[in-house]
């Protein structure tokens, strides 16, 4: 079964167990199923194709090495997700990328008054434009936005992963969304 195709036949847990026994075919099936999700997460967090591919490679190599420790307590995707995020954050630390640290209050700044009446409002977001806009966010905002809005982590999980408070996670998410709104509005002006 291919990377983004699911049909509820062989489970990830079965494939993980087989991979732990040295079955490369099973490991390749796991790669086929999950490589796009892992790569997309890396790409959106680092905004660089080469770095994202290197990180994807690192994730799956680490996955292979640790796979015998996966006991099925959580969903495989959740486990793989966390592994990916941890590796990306380690990568940021090695590169000296500083994620913005703002207080919970912070400054929202002036909201652009791009008022359009409901009847005139075009459809605001197309996915290609949003992807591009995400890549233009500062690293800290981008990380929180990708983890929460794209990948579906709760604020408590984001805070735990990044070593920040829940309040800071919420504040950064809100600022990320407002900045994206500005970037997308510029595109349509």
């Amino acid at each position: 079964m291919s990377a983004n195709v699911t049909n509820n036949t062989v489970t990830d847990f079965d494939l993980a167990q087989a991979s732990a026994r040295g079955d490369m075919a099973a490991f390749e099936m796991l790669y086929d199923r999950h490589n796009r999700r892992v790569y997309s997460l890396c790409l959106r967090m680092v905004s660089n194709v080469t770095e994202a591919e290197d990180l994807t490679q690192e994730v799956f190599v680490q996955l292979f090495r640790k796979i015998s420790s996966f006991r099925g307590e959580s969903a495989f995707t959740t486990w793989l997700h966390r592994l990916t995020v941890n590796l990306v954050l380690m990568h940021f630390r090695k590169r000296g990328v500083r994620l913005e640290r703002t207080t919970e209050e912070g400054e929202i700044g002036d909201i652009q008054d791009n008022f359009r009446s409901a009847g005139e409002r075009p459809r605001f977001v197309d996915r290609i434009a949003l992807d591009k806009a995400i890549s233009e966010l500062p690293p800290g905002y981008r990380t929180v936005f990708v983890l929460h809005d794209v990948e579906g982590f709760e604020h408590a999980e984001v805070a735990d992963l990044l070593g920040i408070s829940v309040g800071t996670s919420k504040s950064q998410l809100h600022k990320a969304r407002l900045r994206l709104r500005e970037l997308l509005n510029k595109k349509y002006d």
């Binding site: 291919s2 990377a3 983004n4 195709v5 699911t6 086929d32 009847g119 459809r123 996915r127 290609i128």
Partner: protein, 251 residues
């Protein structure tokens, strides 16, 4: 004294006129024809077995519901707002009906047809929904606007949008052809658990969730699936460049 009486009468008249004016204003405000909204309504008699309807809309929704099998008529209602579009509805001698909107503005259609009416629907921007039909249907939204098919038992169904989502809930009949495309929207199909079809599903950028149907694969990659569910009697083609594809089994 007389002046006072005259003044009082004048005041009374003014009061009554003001009240009347207010009533007229109120009725005007609640009237559907007020505030730039206009209505269009037309009914066409049709034969119960062979009839066809084509609708071309500039901007706005098209909602078609098939009523009783032998209703013998197509009823077209439209509401315009925001502009001054014009609706032309004509019927050819062989019973085919064509509805065409021209000019700027928003037109929302609600149409009732017999279940055997073939449909060809196009709107540049807006939603299309079709329900309860047994005849072939083609629906297209040029830019954005979701397409929704509900309770269809048709031999041929085609739904195509550029950025809208396409939803299908109905039967896939033996020998039938079902094509659903969206450049960036989602494709969702709800099929019965014992549906029998041959599937071709392509998504370059999204996920393909095959819903647990028992499939025998002829071809499979990250982006393309060609497979048969049971004996492959119906043909189902799904294409999206960026969206997700989901098959759902009807409970």
């Amino acid at each position: 004294m007389v002046a006072l009486m005259l003044a009082e009468s004048a005041l009374e008249i003014i009061e009554r006129l003001s009240t009347a004016a207010l009533v007229v204003l109120f009725l005007t405000a609640i009237s559907p024809v007020a505030a730039g909204q206009q209505q269009f309504s037309k009914t066409f008699p049709v034969s119960s077995d062979q009839n066809a309807l084509e609708v071309i809309n500039q901007q706005g929704s098209i909602k078609v519901t098939a009523a009783a099998a032998n209703s013998g008529k197509v009823v077209i209602n439209a509401r315009h707002s925001d502009g001054n579009p014009r609706v032309d509805a004509t019927q050819t001698p062989d019973g085919k009906i064509k509805v065409e909107v021209s000019g700027r503005g928003l037109t929302d259609f609600e149409i009732s047809v017999p279940t055997s009416t073939q449909l060809d629907l196009l709107t540049y921007k807006g939603m299309i929904s079709v329900a309860n039909l047994n005849a072939p249907v083609r629906a297209r939204t040029t830019t954005e606007g979701d397409i929704k098919f509900a309770n269809l038992h048709s031999q041929r169904v085609e739904g195509h949008s550029t950025s809208g989502n396409v939803f299908f809930d109905g039967e896939v009949l033996p020998g039938g052809e079902y094509k659903f495309k969206s450049f960036s929207g989602k494709l969702d199909l709800v099929l019965s658990t014992d549906a029998d079809f041959r599937l071709s599903a392509t998504s370059s950028g999204g996920v393909i969730d095959l819903g647990g149907f028992p499939l025998k694969f002829d071809r499979q990659t990250n982006q393309l699936i060609e497979a048969a569910c049971r004996t492959g009697k119906a043909k189902v083609s799904l294409w999206t460049q960026e969206g997700n594809i989901h098959l759902h089994r009807k409970p």
